[in-house]
Symmetry: C2
Subunit: 195 residues, 2 copies
DNA sequence: GCTTTCAGATGACACTGTCAACTGACTCAA
DNA sequence: TTGAGTCAGTTGACAGTGTCATCTGAAAGC
């Protein structure tokens, strides 16, 4: 019934899921090959049949996360019930929510692994291209690149500051990640009206 | 000549410097207590006389970096030859430059260690308060908190995206970290003229 | 001068990522 | 059907790691 290739693919998926679970619940330190193997129902050596080393496994987890976010961005862009500005805002909040609810995964997504530094950047492509299209709908092709890059940078920074606890400092007057996002979106959406 | 307390303080400083050097040159993986000790001229157990564990040593390195940046922000604010907008821009670039030239240290500064999550946030206080004052000079007390938080978030995000190599992607049209910073500063400085 | 204190050295331990060798079930041509 | 070949997974081993208990010796204080 289950061929060898199928069961191997299932193990690979189980390893990825186990690594993602451990990362979410216990941070990067909790992701040991032994723990990943145990949770996936195999032993410590098994991951080496699917990934050259631990780093590659982690990168694969990050790629999976970018793909998931890409799907959400695609669905968001296609949603007929939302205005361009709403799509833009929701896209940014979607990114911030990853940082909010899966902070360790979020860090992994923006990490720069020594082995293949471009693998994660490639995986982020689809997600960012979808968002770029949303921004272009609002501000036009000409300024879209610059504004989209700025928006994604800012959103990732907002998420980072929130994750490190620095945004909660009283000197910011209790401002939330949503407040900052809205401020930014308003500035850019307002700018587009002037053009 | 050198009392026991003095030599202990010198060792502590040597350990911090060694850890910072190793972090810069070889990343977090290169910072082992044995390597830090060797570079500081002591053995692997010595750090435990100055820091409860490895994580505390790393946090101390991060705190030192925030203090250095705080000094630079202070000097920047006091510089009479710069306009408020220039001070704001230079402050953001100073933060981005840390991410650019010391990416591993930069990540450490925004990390959220399991042990004492607030230690780094406290260390970031002075740096951010100085910057907040610069922003207040430009946009007024009322909106300063929100804009300062947004600017710092965005700058840290820009640095993060640049460090992960994602900003270099051709889809952004070759935009640089400085371009994004200037765009942001212009939007907020322009906004202040409307008020 | 004697005791106390404490920075640093050292031995040991559990745990990690990684590799070489091994096992056994699946695959597929003859 | 049978045989060799493939390959996912196991196991033993090893070097390197953070950490602790213990020891040492010199400075500090009475």
């Amino acid at each position: 019934m289950t061929s060898r290739a199928e069961s191997a693919a299932a193990t690979r998926r189980a390893l990825l899921d186990a690594a993602a679970d451990l990362l979410d619940s216990g941070g990067l330190d909790a992701v040991t090959l032994r723990a990943v193997g145990a949770r996936a129902g195999v032993t410590r050596g098994a991951p080496y049949r699917h990934f050259p080393d631990k780093e590659s496994l982690l990168i694969a987890v990050g790629i999976q996360a970018w793909d998931t976010l890409g799907d959400r961005m695609h669905a968001l862009r296609a949603d007929p019930g939302l205005s361009p500005a709403e799509k833009m805002r929701n896209g940014l909040i979607a990114l911030i929510d990853v940082g909010r609810f899966q902070p360790h995964l979020y860090k992994l997504m923006f990490s720069n692994p020594p082995g293949d530094p471009t693998a994660l950047a490639r995986a982020a492509q689809r997600s960012q291209t979808e968002f770029l299209a949303v921004v272009a709908d609002l501000v036009g092709e000409q300024h879209a690149r610059r504004y989209a890059a700025l928006l994604i940078s800012s959103a990732s920074g907002i998420a980072g500051l929130e994750a490190s606890g620095q945004l909660a400092d009283p000197k910011w007057g209790g401002v939330s990640a949503e407040d900052l996002t809205d401020t930014l979106v308003d500035m850019i959406a307002g700018k587009s009206r002037h053009a």
